[in-house]
Each structure stands twice: as C-alpha cells, then as structure tokens.
C-alpha cells in the first residue's frame, strides 16, 4: 500500500489538511485532481507521482 498522503506532501508540499482531503478523495472516488496549471510542470509532477508508485494522467482542463 502506498502512503498517498505522504506522497502528496513530499511532491507538492501541500498543507496537512489539503493532503488529507486529497487522500480521502482518492479513496472514495478512485481519483483526484491533485494539481492544475502549465502542461510542462504537470508532466514533471506526473512523472514524480508515477515514480512514487501511484497512477497518474494529465488531462486538459474543461
């Protein structure tokens, strides 16, 4: 099992509460939008998340 809450903290540096909320969203919905912004940075984050053992995709904002 991945400690997703820690992965979010280390990669994004989010607050404890934000990491906790993302963890809950992933748990209940199976996925969560963890970051949005420039495509290049999103790709960098995506690689880091995948290296940490989580699944990650980049989607264009609606």
């Amino acid at each position: 099992m991945n400690v997703v809450v820690v992965i979010f903290k280390k990669i994004f540096g989010y607050s404890n509460n934000k990491c906790t909320q993302l963890m809950l969203t992933v748990h209940h919905e199976g996925r969560a939008v963890v970051w949005s912004g420039e495509r290049e940075r999103a790709e960098g984050y995506c690689v880091k998340i995948q290296v940490a053992g989580l699944q990650c995709t980049i989607e264009e904002a609606a």
């Binding site: 099992m1 820690v6 934000k18 809950l24 969203t25």
Partner: protein, 143 residues
C-alpha cells in the same frame, strides 16, 4: 524549535522520541485499526481498504485479498512495536501505513470529506486529526 518525534540514527534505525502521552495516542489508533479489521460492523471497517483501483480489483481478486492481508499485517506489526524505542524500516513503514488508515478512518467517520467540513468540525475531532497528521508527517520525514 519543536522537538523531533522521530530521528534517523547513524546505524539506520529510527528512534521514537514519543513520550507516554504520544505513545498512548499511537497505541489507541493502532488498536482501533486492528479491531476494525476484525469486526465488519466497526464504523472504521469501510475505510480500511486501500485506494480504489476498480480495474485491478476486477482483473485480479486475489490481489485484493493479498492487499487486505498486507494491511492487516501492517496494523498488527505496528501495534506490537508500539513501545519499541527504535524501529527498523519495515516497522516504520507499518506505522506510516497504519497511521494513514487511522487518519482516513477518523476523517471519514466524522464526514470530513472536504476542507470546509474539516474547518467546521468540533475542536476535539479536529485536534485528533491534527495529532494524527503531525505524527504521520513527522515519521514520513525520516522514512
């Protein structure tokens, strides 16, 4: 500067610097997870499984069972090592996993599924969550 709760020593072990009150918090959380794993009626029971991965579960139900077994082992290992002055990497990982389960179960059991509800929660619940977060992230810094 706040004292560090967990310290990585030169021999590779992780020193646990929790006082008795801190150990009690962790012990209660670990006991609660182990109890919930063995009681389907426990309110934490529904939040014990790992992150949802429907495709994987459908493709390989045995993998789901293995995952559940791992989690059970993690919580039990965490509980039996709760009074240890030092943890090895495997034990520290079990603590981390179990603390995450306890954090998720506590937040879910109180319906704190978004930030606004978290802010509106009563002080006792918010305090409980903040303590679990502090322990989890302090340990994550040295693992």
């Amino acid at each position: 500067m706040a004292p560090r709760l967990f310290v990585r020593r030169r021999d590779g072990r992780i020193e646990v610097r929790l006082n008795e009150a801190g150990r009690d918090v962790v012990r209660v959380a670990f006991r609660r997870v182990v109890a919930a794993e063995n009681d389907l009626d426990d309110e934490w029971s529904t939040t014990l499984n790992g992150p949802i991965d429907p495709s994987r579960d459908q493709d390989d139900p045995l993998l789901t069972l293995a995952r559940q077994h791992d989690m059970s082992s993690n919580a039990e290992l965490a509980l039996v090592t709760v009074d240890e002055p030092f943890l090895n990497d495997g034990e520290a990982w079990a603590w981390l996993s179990t603390l995450q389960v306890a954090l998720r179960a506590t937040a879910s059991a109180h319906g704190l599924i978004d930030e606004s509800r978290m802010e509106e929660a009563d002080d006792a619940v918010r305090g409980e969550i903040q303590v679990l977060q502090s322990l989890l992230f302090a340990l994550a810094d040295v693992v």
